[in-house]
Amino acid sequence: MEAHELIMLIYVFVLAIFVGFELITKVPPTLHTPLMSGSNAISGITIVGALLSAGLEEFTISTILGLIALIFATINVVGGYLVTDRMLKMFKKK
């Protein structure tokens, strides 16, 4: 990766942080726990990187690392979304 490519990625990163701040400040305190577990599931997006490594054609150390990463990330994603849904189901108005 060239330096200018890195800079473009940093652009995206910085702008996304601003979007994140705007969105999250509007989440009411009552939903802060589901926000944490739900956003936590989103951070399991690393699963994409794990898939790319675990699916490499040749079996190398990258495959093993990718497989463990895949297990971790899948726990993160599946567990995160399911438990968030379980919590949000309970929030009811009178």
């Binding site: 990766m1 060239e2 890195l6 995206v12 990163f13 996304a16 979007v19 994140g20 701040f21 969105l23 999250i24 509007k26 989440v27 009411p28 305190p29 009552t30 802060h32 726990t33 589901p34 926000l35 944490m36 577990s37 956003s39 936590n40 599931a41 951070s43 399991g44 997006i45 690393t46 699963i47 994409v48 990187g49 898939l51 790319l52 490594s53 675990a54 699916g55 150390i61 990258s62 495959t63 990718g66 497989l67 990463a69 895949l70 971790f72 990330a73 899948t74 567990g79 995160g80 979304y81 399911l82 438990v83 968030t84 379980r86 919590m87 949000l88 929030f91 009811k92 108005k93 009178k94």
Partner: protein
């Protein structure tokens, strides 16, 4: 195909954003979580068609094992265990980021040889550092919340210099890897030292500071995902990670404000001014103050029965005693008598942001009865009875009127302004900050001793008989 992949990644990014946007109301929140998970599904499916993905056996194994463990955890965890669960999930996210960075590093070495551009090496090093710290830090946080690791503030000599030294070592080694990417041992060293650093950074943090630690680790797990995005040059990962990073940071700031402490103060461990000696002295002095009035279930029931408005203030003690259902029963019996019942939730009540809200939601307390501190604090003077369940420091008036108190300046629920305050607690023991609570000695305060669940059940029975 590459173009389609990128378009789907863009759609997934948009779904994540809309998913979080829908969390702005409990009505749309569940739908938001579904949108977000749909984005994740799309991202995973389209990645399986990536030209790099050629073998599927390990992918299938990984997905099945991960999904089984994740689903099992999500179904089994009790609502009182939610802080641990989130802590653990943070850790898995961080661990995955670290491992992907290593996998990518070896992949580049195997395919293009030991020449890695500086921009790529920088992202790999940062990804390993943040991922590793998140991984072990979260495991320690999990251990503390689960009671496997001491929940106390851990201090030892040379703590801060040691952490600083380790961080400097990681950075120096990082520069060496960037200058010469073939130094595999050096990158492994960075990983190991970062893992140790994660343990050392979270170990000193005390139990009641966990809301801050968990929020911060949540933020790290997002940053770790972003760093993986930098390594893979994938905008979707960068966006998703940045959203989570921002979320964690905002929650961290809210939690710190709720305790009137700087992030530095929390991370470095403990209430700076509340040394063990000071706390013991304060506790000793107050122990002789006397003048604590206590009531039994029958007397308490009569006071409730005569009230028109009641505010319930839950704290971590309610979670420990699993008393949320008993509290719901109390609410129901009071409402059946025409009494107005509301809940006041302090931002740092419990062990993670929103902890009390989830527990009460589980017990089917409608969320519109739950009020944030700033929305209800002015109503205490017009309230007949305040019932404090397992909360302590967040209702200590010393935070308002005793400049010598370590919690002075912390925003509190002004329960002492109510006509009568009934405090349910097991004993007169000090709260987390290690200071006694002058509220217990106030003329309008009545102590109702006992385990929250048992005591409230007794109270409910008495109320039913009245």
């Amino acid at each position: 195909m590459q173009t389609i992949t990128y378009i789907v990644y863009l759609i997934a990014s948009i779904l994540f954003i809309f998913g979080i946007k829908r969390l702005s109301s409990p009505k749309t929140a569940r739908q938001g979580n579904m949108l977000s998970s749909l984005g994740m599904l799309l991202a995973v499916v389209v990645t399986l068609f990536d030209q790099r993905v050629l073998t599927f056996e390990y992918i299938i194994i990984g997905l099945i094992i991960g999904a089984a463990i994740g689903a099992l955890m999500a179904v089994k965890v009790p609502m009182t265990g939610m802080p641990q669960m989130v802590g653990l999930l943070n850790g898995f996210g961080g661990g995955a980021s670290m491992l992907v960075a290593f996998a990518e590093y070896y992949h580049i070495l195997n395919t293009t040889g030991p020449v890695i551009q500086a921009a790529t090496s920088v992202t790999i090093v940062l990804s390993v550092l943040i991922g590793a710290v998140t991984f072990t830090g979260s495991l320690i946080a999990f251990g503390k919340l689960q009671g496997l690791v001491t929940g106390k503030v851990v201090k030892y000599p040379g703590q801060h210099p040691l952490n600083a030294l380790l961080l400097v070592a990681v950075l120096v080694a990082g520069v060496m890897v960037i200058l010469d990417p073939s130094k595999t041992d050096m990158l492994i060293g960075i990983g190991i030292v970062s893992l140790i650093l994660g343990v050392l950074l979270v170990l000193p943090i005390g139990g009641a500071d966990m809301p801050v630690a968990i929020s911060l680790l949540n933020s790290y797990s997002g940053l770790a995902a972003s760093m993986t995005g930098f390594v893979l040059q994938n905008n979707m990962l960068i966006i998703a990670g940045a959203l989570v990073g921002a979320s964690g940071i905002i929650l961290t700031i809210i939690m710190c404000k709720g305790m009137n402490r700087s992030l530095m103060n929390v991370v470095l461990g403990g209430w700076e001014t509340a040394g063990a000696g000071g706390a013991a002295a304060a506790g000793g002095a107050d122990a002789h103050k006397g003048d604590v009035k206590s009531v039994d279930a029958e007397e308490a029931a009569m006071i409730f029965d005569a009230a028109q408005s009641v505010i319930i203030v839950p704290g971590y003690g309610m979670a420990v005693a699993q008393a949320q259902h008993a509290v719901r029963d109390l609410m129901n019996v009071l409402e059946s008598k025409g009494i107005n019942v509301r809940f006041a939730i302090h931002p740092v009540a419990g062990r993670m942001p929103g902890h009390m809200n989830v527990l009460l939601a589980e017990a089917q307390v409608p969320y519109d009865k739950l009020y944030a501190m700033e929305d209800i604090n002015d109503d205490f003077p017009n309230t007949d009875v305040v019932f404090v369940v397992g909360a302590n420091d967040v209702v200590n008036p010393a935070a308002r009127n005793d400049p010598s108190s370590p919690i002075y300046g912390m925003p509190i629920l002004n329960v002492d302004y109510a006509k009568t305050v009934i405090v349910n607690k097991r004993s007169l023991n000090v709260g987390y900050a290690g200071i006694s609570n002058e509220l217990f000695y106030y003329p309008n305060t009545l102590m109702y001793f006992g385990d929250a669940k048992e005591a409230i059940n007794k109270l409910v029975n008495e109320l039913k008989e009245l």
